[in-house]
């Protein structure tokens, strides 16, 4: 099927649907396809600046019409419309046009994904937290862990600031039920170990902890050396690279069981409530809390 022929069809579809989705916004995208996934109808695009929506970066987008994904090949230069809905929470591509196919052959094959399967054990590499203290995932044996990745200078409100805000909400909610609080832990790992040193992470963390350092006992903001970061990111199926002090990255939230096994990934869609429920469910699999919060008085 020829993509060019699809355009009028897509356009008509757009015209028909715009009337009902008054809250959608449209932006023009130009870029190059790096990867595609037919099963999820997604392409990873290295795109130019999209004023009002996003600076130049590489990131995955859902494509409305899966037939288009079939047609596209890594290396293709494309023009498309980014459509956002739900206040920018949801976004996808429509009206995708190939502007240049000559890059097809030279495109590198996508890096093989080494993402760990659900049920596999997490790598136990050393991490350094906001106080400069070294820790490992195994230190939280007996607790359900929710792990995500950000960098402190990340300017995209639907990326890192959203993730950290959601974790802050989960932290506050869990604090209301001491039993769940004692059996859970949050970890935020930085993609930017060069800039995000312990003091920078501490300042960042405090902003999300209402300035109360006590919160760090339940939520670590961590960094590591760039080699170990790559290993952890690979294990969790994350992609990232740095360019001009801006880091392009995919998103991932990983739920780890009290035994240190991967239980679930979220990479494209989730809600705070969903994350919180899953974390509490995992916590419930711990029969007795490791240590009682307060020593019991006799009698």
């Amino acid at each position: 099927m020829n993509l060019q022929k699809l355009v009028p069809v897509v356009l008509t579809g757009v015209l028909l649907t715009t009337g009902c989705q008054s809250s959608t916004k449209r932006y023009n995208l130009r870029g190059q396809v790096l990867e595609k996934s037919i099963s999820t109808s997604e392409i990873t695009v290295k795109h130019e600046d999209i004023p009002g929506f996003m600076p130049a970066m590489t990131m995955p987008y859902k494509v409305k019409d899966p037939a288009v994904v079939q047609e596209l090949q890594p290396g293709d230069a494309i023009a498309a419309e980014v459509v956002t809905a739900n206040n920018g929470k949801d976004y996808w591509l429509e009206d995708v046009r190939i502007t240049d196919e000559s890059g097809r052959k030279s495109a590198k094959p996508a890096a093989p994904a080494h993402r760990l399967e659900v049920g596999e054990r997490v790598p136990d590499l050393p991490l350094i937290n906001q106080d400069g203290k070294t820790f490992r995932f195994s230190d939280f044996k007996g607790k359900a862990l929710l792990v995500t990745f950000v960098y402190t200078r990340c300017p995209m409100p639907t990326f890192c600031p959203r993730l950290s805000s959601q974790f802050a909400k989960i932290q506050n909610d869990l604090a209301k039920s001491p039993e769940d609080f004692a059996k859970t832990h949050l970890v935020t790992i930085s993609f930017d170990p060069k800039y995000d040193t312990a003091p920078v992470l501490r300042k960042y963390g405090l902003a999300y902890l209402d300035n109360d350092p006590a919160g760090f006992s339940h939520w670590d903001f961590a960094s590591t050396n760039s080699g170990d970061l790559r290993k952890i990111a690979d294990a969790f199926g994350l992609e990232y690279f740095e360019e001009d002090n801006q880091i392009s990255h995919t998103m991932d939230i990983v739920l780890i069981s009290p035994e240190g096994k991967i239980m679930k990934y979220w990479a494209t869609e989730w809600t705070t409530a969903e994350l919180e429920d899953a974390l509490r469910q995992q916590a419930k699999t711990v029969s007795t809390p490791q240590k009682p919060l307060t020593p019991r008085k006799a009698g």
């Binding site: 600046d49 950290s164 999300y208």
Partner: protein, 113 residues
């Protein structure tokens, strides 16, 4: 008739030139500032930002009051500092904007009514 056209042309050319002369450099700075603002700041400060812990304040009339929303003095220096260092959950733009870029951004923020 032709002569009238010619002189009209001349007048408008002079006029355009005068415009360029009078407002050239600050206007250019504001325009570049607007581009940077649309690229880096508008997503948070001009649009809806669901799920964020703190809603970024609107930045219209930023310099009209004595104080910024945080209570800090509404000066160019203070605003530059906010952009470079960030403020609580606002991310730092450290090493991501040139000095000229910061000047342009501040010039543009002054025009927001």
């Amino acid at each position: 008739m032709i002569r009238i056209m010619q002189s009209a042309c001349f007048v408008s050319a002079v006029f355009a030139f005068a415009l360029i002369l009078s407002g050239c450099s600050p206007k250019e700075s504001e325009l570049r500032g607007q581009e940077l603002f649309d690229l880096h700041c508008a997503v948070c400060h001009m649009g809806p930002t669901p799920d964020l812990k703190k809603r970024p304040p609107r930045l219209e009339k930023l310099f009209a009051l004595k104080q910024l929303p945080s209570g800090a003095p509404a000066t160019d220096t203070q605003v530059r500092k906010t952009i470079i260092e960030g403020l609580r959950t606002m991310p730092a733009f450290d090493k991501r904007l040139s000095d000229q870029g910061l000047d342009d951004l501040v010039a543009y923020l002054h025009t927001l009514k």
